[in-house]
């Protein structure tokens, strides 16, 4: 339910489905990483969103690490949200 990552000019893009990752979880990560990454989310239709992550400042020195941590945060948040519902 997610596409591969792509990277262009320091912006890491991943298209994911809201079926898997809720808007709340992506928004929570966006807020939590405000100081480390610039994150923009664009709807792609059919419940998909493109998430563009651009590591900033110190994080830009190890961009892959920052992007992985961002998505790890989304994964954790979504897991906890679903566990709370079940």
């Amino acid at each position: 339910m997610s596409t591969f990552y792509s990277e262009e000019r320091g912006i890491y893009t991943r298209v994911v489905s809201n079926l898997m990752y809720s808007r709340q979880s992506i928004a929570a990560a966006q807020s939590a990483f405000r100081a480390h990454c610039s994150v923009t989310v664009r709807p792609q239709g059919q419940g998909n969103v493109a998430v563009h992550v651009k590591p900033l400042g110190e994080s830009a020195r190890e961009p892959t690490q920052a992007v992985l941590e961002f998505w790890n945060f989304v994964l954790d948040t979504e897991a906890q949200r679903r566990l709370a519902m079940s």
Binding site: T3, S17, L19, M20, Q46, W71, L75, A79, R82, S86
Partner: protein
């Protein structure tokens, strides 16, 4: 004439890509296909040719099959340096139900009950025998233990017998837990399991005041329900229906759910059972088999059946449930939803019977009316039948550490991981299944169990395969229905991506 020979595509893409295999399990799927799965819960269907190519590392690294297997973490190559960290993150997520340790705390407020169900798991006592009631001292000590749990959110569930027959204690537990929790600030969900036959306005007001959920039982239309759940003074179904409406009206329809138990009587009526749930405005159904515990062991000849009979019943009912969902009514089958969540998402769920490590002790603990503590409801049933081997301790005699990390808990834990159980460790369906050492102890006399003769294994494998067949069929409408169940959203709001990576 000179011979023209073209280079492979890989030649222009930076040379040969070497790949390695990551751990996976495999099994046959149908007559001419294989299914493979890994610890992250990813799966793929492969032809025998592609399987052979995969294993002999001859898959074309630019083929769709290869890229799909790479995306699902079945192979790893030198095109990415972060693979290991992604795997770790995914695996941690799959096991995140362990975070916070025991979350479901069951209080058996009394063994008294007004029903005499032949399949009852509990050694019920008649309504006047108050010596089978939990005392406030035991209850409060149980609450203290519950609040020692590291979990930020815990569920406090009241069971019996019939839990409402000891309503003063239920109230005391809720008030004491709420008071003690003011400083701890955990999220506590209270659930009252009740047959609804003795429901009063006082109960309803208290439930509303404290936001208590109601879990009840409905086995189907009147002729099935009354046969399964006999009540001497009236029709159990009649009382149930009247009081269910009161609960739905007073608390809201989303505050009450029902469980059904399948007996031999139920097998011929899958459609009628489902229609009864719809008629009574229940929002889902959980098709449950008989449990081999308690009274059900003594009555198995009268009300029992083979696993194959249950699976046939389940499949008939499931087809009817899909029809209902197609027509636009959101009506999930709860067990399938739990399994589908494991198949289709990277996330775990909180259902203790489908976890590895098993839920016994790790996810659930039971405080019996007499203060004895068990790792699951089923362990308590065994104790009522005279086998106290799975008793973890006593709330008045043992500390939190002695109960949750003692020898008995460790014995259960040793048989709790299906990744390491014989017959499960190499089963392709293992990531979607669970472990149930207490079930195997009860039915086979061995916590580890013997998988080829295990009803737990046959039932789960049957249902998991059945669901995978639907997914493999490529039927997008059914896939949308499954996602609507997983995400608890109406079907009309579910939009599948064009290219599915399932």
């Amino acid at each position: 004439m000179a011979r023209t020979e073209f280079h492979s595509l890989g030649h222009y893409q930076g040379g040969e890509v070497k790949y390695g295999l990551l751990p996976f399990r495999l099994g046959r799927f149908g007559a001419d296909e294989y299914i493979i799965s890994n610890d992250l819960g990813e799966y793929a269907f492969l032809s025998p040719t592609d399987l052979e190519r995969l294993i002999s590392k001859k898959l074309d690294p630019n083929s769709d099959t290869y890229l799909n297997l790479r995306a699902k973490n079945f192979v790893s190559d030198d095109r990415g340096s972060v693979h290991g960290r992604i795997l770790a993150s995914r695996y941690k997520t799959k096991k995140s139900f362990l975070d916070g340790f025991t979350k479901l705390h069951i209080f058996v407020t009394t063994l008294r009950c007004d029903h005499s169900c032949p399949y009852c798991q509990v050694s019920r006592q008649s309504e006047d025998r108050t010596k089978y009631d939990m005392t406030p001292e035991i209850a409060r000590r149980g609450v203290d233990l519950m609040l020692r749990s590291p979990a930020r959110a815990v569920t406090c569930e009241f069971q019996g017998g019939e839990s409402l027959l000891n309503f003063p204690l239920l109230k005391d537990i809720v008030q004491y837990a709420t008071e003690r929790n003011r400083a701890l600030r955990k999220a506590i969900t209270f659930v009252a399991c009740t047959n609804l036959s003795t429901l009063t306005d006082e109960h309803l007001a208290f439930f509303k005041q404290h936001n208590i959920l109601v879990s009840t039982s409905l086995d189907g239309p009147q002729h099935i329900h009354d046969k399964n759940r006999p009540l001497s003074r009236a029709s159990s179904h009649g009382l149930f229906e009247a009081n269910l409406k009161r609960v739905q009206g007073y608390l809201g329809p989303d505050r009450v759910s029902a469980l059904m138990t399948t007996t031999k009587e139920s097998l011929a009526y899958p459609d009628e059972i489902i229609d009864e749930y719809l008629r009574l405005d229940l929002s889902s159904i959980f098709l449950r088999p008989l449990s081999p515990f308690g009274f059900a062991v003594k009555t198995v000849k009268a009300i029992g059946y083979d696993t194959s009979d249950f699976l046939a019943f389940y499949k008939k009912a499931f087809v009817r449930i899909l029809e209902i969902n197609r027509s636009g009514r959101h009506f999930p089958e709860s067990y399938a939803t739990l399994i589908l969540e494991k198949i289709l998402t990277p996330f775990p769920n909180g259902y203790v019977d489908l976890q590895s490590p098993a839920g016994a002790g790790f996810g659930v603990v039971v405080y019996n009316y007499d203060g004895e503590v068990y790792a699951s409801d089923e362990s308590r049933m065994l104790a009522e039948m005279g086998d106290t081997n799975l008793r973890l301790g006593n709330v008045l005699e043992n500390s939190y550490e002695e109960i949750f990390f003692g020898e008995e808990m460790q014995t259960i834990a040793a048989a709790s991981c299906n990744e390491a159980l014989p017959g499960c460790s190499d089963c392709v369906y293992q990531p979607f299944c669970g472990a149930d050492p207490v079930y195997h102890y009860a039915t086979q006399g061995d916590l580890f169990g013997h998988r080829p003769t295990s009803g737990f294994c046959q039932r789960n494998m049957g249902i998991i395969k059945y669901l995978l067949e639907f997914l493999h069929s490529g039927n997008r409408e059914i896939e949308r229905i499954f996602w609507s169940w997983i995400n608890r959203t109406p079907l009309r709001q579910v939009s599948l991506p064009e290219a599915s990576w399932l």
